[in-house]
Symmetry: C2
Subunit: 341 residues, 2 copies
DNA sequence: CTGTTAGCGCATTCAT
DNA sequence: ATGAATGCGCTAACAG
């Protein structure tokens, strides 16, 4: 089974390569019967036009790049779904690059995508450090941020208002009678999902007249195990009676905290209420369902693509600009109990 | 900022394009100082060689295609990780195509990947129906199956022995004193993960002297919600006392079943034991941890790539062949209780 | 060791 | 409406 090109088809159909190209891209521009001949020849030869050659010739591959820090984050799936969908609707494919949690590899991701002629890039999560920014500047193609932002350049960013969301979550707890609320925060040096959510928690506390007590907060890397550890440390410091609720900066950590509480004989929500953050699929799948604040991942993905596509169409490297704060939402499930007293 | 090609660099460095190409692909084949000149020129111009043009010229893109039925399956992440890793180790990139649960789109996936010159394809999950097989035959590039198999052609397949795994899971339950075990199965028409697991369950039952009772089994689509529904139907038929344990054909459905049980006042594992299948991340994150049978997703991914790469290197479209059954493993956590009587 | 030439497969002017 | 020629950016022979 040899290589069949546009040329082989042309010979078979007794026409020129150009004509074959035409029926491929604009069938109406060619005579009805020659068109049929060509189409038949293509079918008989099982011709597959080379997207590579086409790309070289046309100078664009109709793809957008998606740069993620690591596909192990459970949020990836939900984000990707939105992205792939609208990209498809606009005739674009998405080229995925996984940085595997390696900063350097993430940098490589940009050049990889560039070398593959993506029309634009969606950068996901992870703070935009200086080197990223420098890379992006030299790139010459539009870049939009999803679930993160850059404080230097006016890169378009799509995310939620993390401090307000954390504020609301904490307020939600307080409105139900909790005033000693522990927090399992993300790393404070993480500006996008660490410091912000901690800040929101703190603001709500003081706003509604509760005291911020340092012993009640600890930190983790957003994953299950560290959520467990952080909860353990808090418990060690303040004991089982030290708090009536805990707010975690991610669903995974919330689940880790719940496990830890269970092992210490504390039931959720009877003895302590727990709130998560993200509203991943798993939040619904656990029993009792995890009360959490939802980020509209899918919607964020969609908007990011649309913004990117717009910049691409407009033809320039600058995107629609600005930080777009999408609405979060508190999803009430079963891990929060109102204090009856 | 204009387009900088291999030619621009050549001019800037005062050499021929061919020389630039050489420092790109085999730096040692060029004089030390000219090489430096070229490298400097490349740096100054921020030259990014076009992977597309290179691909066209070399007739291969150094990528393998990954065809998944839908990225919403939580197992995707774990599989992808193994695949991307070893692909990278061999200098290959993986091109992802998501069929979005659409049979027709999955077919398109093959031609898409083919048109993008992938060296081979890993097809994931979903039964290999006739049209798939026909497509694969015409493709002219090696294809390996992960988490599924084909009963017609000797396509290489990497998966677990589902009937034995289900057998073992059921036996595990019986060894702990359970003999009225409900099953939340996958669709019986699904040959790879539906009928097989149900069969294993049934075999264990009769093998160890328990009766197969039809009222105790119901079906779902492997996802949470249907697991819930199936459990609900079983409960409606046999009542709360009808069984002491339930075996689900997926972790998601196990979690759905647990939710249903909880809503009927049944505690896990005190009142009824539950076993899942897959050992997704979530199995560890719920409390109590879900006892389940683990599929070595990551390992399967790695092997699939290696098999594919081998066929590619060998230069032909036939892969190492045969169905490779990888060992499963029962992961004991907290949802199964031994009956003490 | 380096420059020249000639494609890779397709799209796109121009002619006809 | 269709064919011939040219170029996309790069690699690979073959010279020198």
């Amino acid at each position: 089974m040899k290589k069949v090109t546009i040329r082989t088809v042309a010979n078979r159909a007794g026409v020129s390569p150009a004509t074959v190209s035409r029926v491929l891209n604009d069938p109406l521009k060619v005579g009805a019967d020659t068109r049929r001949k060509v189409q038949q020849a293509m079918a008989e030869l099982d011709f597959q036009p080379s997207a590579i050659a086409r790309g070289l010739s046309m100078q664009h591959m109709d793809t957008i790049g998606l740069l993620v820090p690591g596909i192990n984050g459970l949020f990836f799936n939900e984000l990707y779904q939105g992205i792939d969908e609208v990209a498809g609707e606009h005739g674009m494919k998405v080229l995925l690059f996984d940085a595997q949690l390696d900063h350097h590899r993430a940098l490589d991701g940009f050049t990889f995508l560039k070398q593959h002629h993506v029309a634009g890039i969606i950068f996901t999560s992870g703070s935009i450090t200086d080197d990223y920014q420098a890379m992006i500047d030299r790139l010459g193609i539009p870049v939009v941020l999803a679930l993160t932002h850059s404080r230097m350049r006016p890169l378009s960013a799509f995310r939620t208002d993390d401090v307000k969301a954390a504020f609301d979550a904490t307020a939600y707890l307080m409105a139900r009678g909790h005033n000693r609320i522990a927090m399992v925060s993300g790393p404070p040096e993480n500006e996008v999902a660490g410091a912000t959510r901690l800040q929101g928690y703190r603001q709500a506390l003081t706003r509604y007249g509760a005291e911020y007590v340092e012993e009640l907060v600890d930190f983790g890397d957003f994953h299950f195990h560290e959520g467990y550890r952080a909860m353990e440390r808090i418990l060690a410091r303040v004991g089982k009676e030290g708090f009536t609720a805990v707010f975690a900066a991610s669903d995974e950590m919330a689940l880790g905290a719940i496990r830890c509480l269970a092992e210490h004989g504390l039931r959720v929500p009877e003895d302590v209420s727990v709130m998560g953050y993200d509203n991943l699929y798993v939040a619904e799948m656990v029993t009792p369902g995890l009360t959490t604040v939802a980020q509209p991942f899918q919607h964020i993905g969609r908007l990011a693509v649309e913004c990117l596509l717009q910049a691409i169409a407009a033809g320039q490297t600058e995107t629609c600009g600005g930080i777009h704060l999408l609405p979060h939402q508190i999803i009430e499930r079963g891990t929060v109990k109102a204090l009856s007293q």
